[in-house]
Amino acid sequence: MSLRIVVCVKYVPDATGDRHFAEDLTTDRDAVDGLLSELDEYAVEQALQIADAADDAEITVLTVGPEDAKDALRKALSMGADKGVHVEDDDLHGTDVVGTSLVLAKAVEHVGYDLVLCGMASTDGTMGVLPAILAERLGVPQVTLLSEVAVADGTVTGRRDGDAASEQLQAQLPAVVSVTDQSGEARYPSFKGIMAAKKKPVESLDLSDLGIDADEVGLGGAWTKVEDAAKRPERTAGTIVKDEGEGGKQLAEFLVSQKFI
């Protein structure tokens, strides 16, 4: 039977753009160009490699995000994924990680899956917790932060590199896996892939398609709320330590005062 892989990909504001908060202190996603979160490209790459190694596999890329989030799907499709699912709903505005994970869980179940692949963190929210919450919601094993991953005979295996040790992990499918930026550079889409992506199906879903109530998500359903936000102070010129015999001491004092040592 075909191995069903779902890759969760996030559409994020371009980090090189000028990012702002909207009046309700949510990210103003309309004001800047967005793109497929670079860290999620690693998840797409691993999905493609796992699919290559399998006899038969189908890769679905899934995103929850605004209209333009389709661009993130397109990119993943041009890299070689087979189809896309886009969840969009006005009521999603302001959804936090709890709500996002609910939507993703319902959507993953809607698609049908053996393996869910995620990035290690989004490049905007960077909480890195979504894969774990998603696995809890789905009630399946989670194997997070792998820098090497393989699937064989209904089992996913991989290596997690920690500061102290590397762990070899395995889990029965279905499972949720997240991969790090050490898992292997993502491929660049070829022109053939770009052309083919145009013809690949993208399913659009809203909250009612997934049987989710509007008050479970959005700003209202969020467990967290941003109370206040301030612009980061401009960078200052820095401290110049002039060595008049006491230079080393002054340097050490500065580093201590900044809690570097």
């Binding site: 041009s78 491929r187 660049y188 022109f191 053939k192 892939g193 770009i194």
Partner: protein
Amino acid sequence: MSIDHRLPAEYEELRRTVEQFAHDVVAPKIGDFYERHEFPYEIVREMGRMGLFGLPFPESYGGMGGDYFALCLALEELARVDSSVAITLEAGVSLGAMPIFRFGTEEQKREWLPRLCAGELLGAFGLTEPECGSDAGGTRTTARLDEATNEWVINGTKCFITNSGTDITGLVTVTAVTGRKEDGRPEISAIIVPSGTPGFTVAAPYSKVGWNASDTRELSFADVRVPAANLVGERGRGYAQFLRILDEGRIAIAALGTGLAQGCVDESVEYAKTRQAFGKPIGANQAIQFKLADMEMRAHTSRLAWRDAAARLISGEPFKKEAALAKLYSSESAVTNAREATQIHGGYGFMNEYPVARFWRDSKILEIGEGTSEVQRMLIARELGVTA
């Protein structure tokens, strides 16, 4: 009715992909290869993996199902960052693989194109000889058909041949005199010579002014024997065939020149904003602003010119004049922009570690290779109906 000047979405996506590749993969590494005069195998391998060498060829031969326009877009984006890798792609595709695709037999296509498209092998095209370049009809290399063994026996020398001596060079298509026509003029044909054929020797790389991470060599042929079936296209049609190949190639060189011209703008705008002199950024001076404006004008116009020629080519319209115009204008723009970019960078512009120094060294060849500027002017005048 809308007249759309924008690229179709897929072409724009290709352009952006190559732009990112050039920025992420080529830019950080190419300076060192260039400095060491070393062929950048690892970068070329990546280019192969993303399908750049297969851009204009059908999927049935391992290509990407794109066209010449797509190839030129990729060339422009690569050349914005570096010309050595761009010319490696240009020569590999438009001179190496294209003659086989356009004029080769089905067997030749099946044998060579899949590996050329994948970038596993590189092709080269040997036309220029020590005694003849612009006057390519003056070829002295000969190929005699040995009826007994049904082989071509090739003798002669070719010079300045791009991609001819790398570890992954698979073949060189050479032009040679295969007889006399009825009117006494030489009959020129094109023949595939696989690398490693006995009697075919490749000299050490030239020491060049620029394009230092690209492979250029002299080739000699001493009784080199290849099967009669290695003839590309019809016997005696070699001259007409390479004229067609060169016409197309001019558009590719124009795209490459546009990239270099644009790269000069990119680098210089950044520099003009940050470099301080007399208490303000140098870009605050009108003398620098006007240079930048003129540079942008040249890059933009060059782009319009190659895109026009390429659009004609892929829609099957005549494109000879437009290709010559594009090649002439963009190569001269590249040279001018490189000179101005170096000027804007002051002393740093004369230091090899700065990309503009590389641009400066790489620009001049664009006015010489694949038809000198004089040859382009001759062609354009001829198209205007003015001849000697």
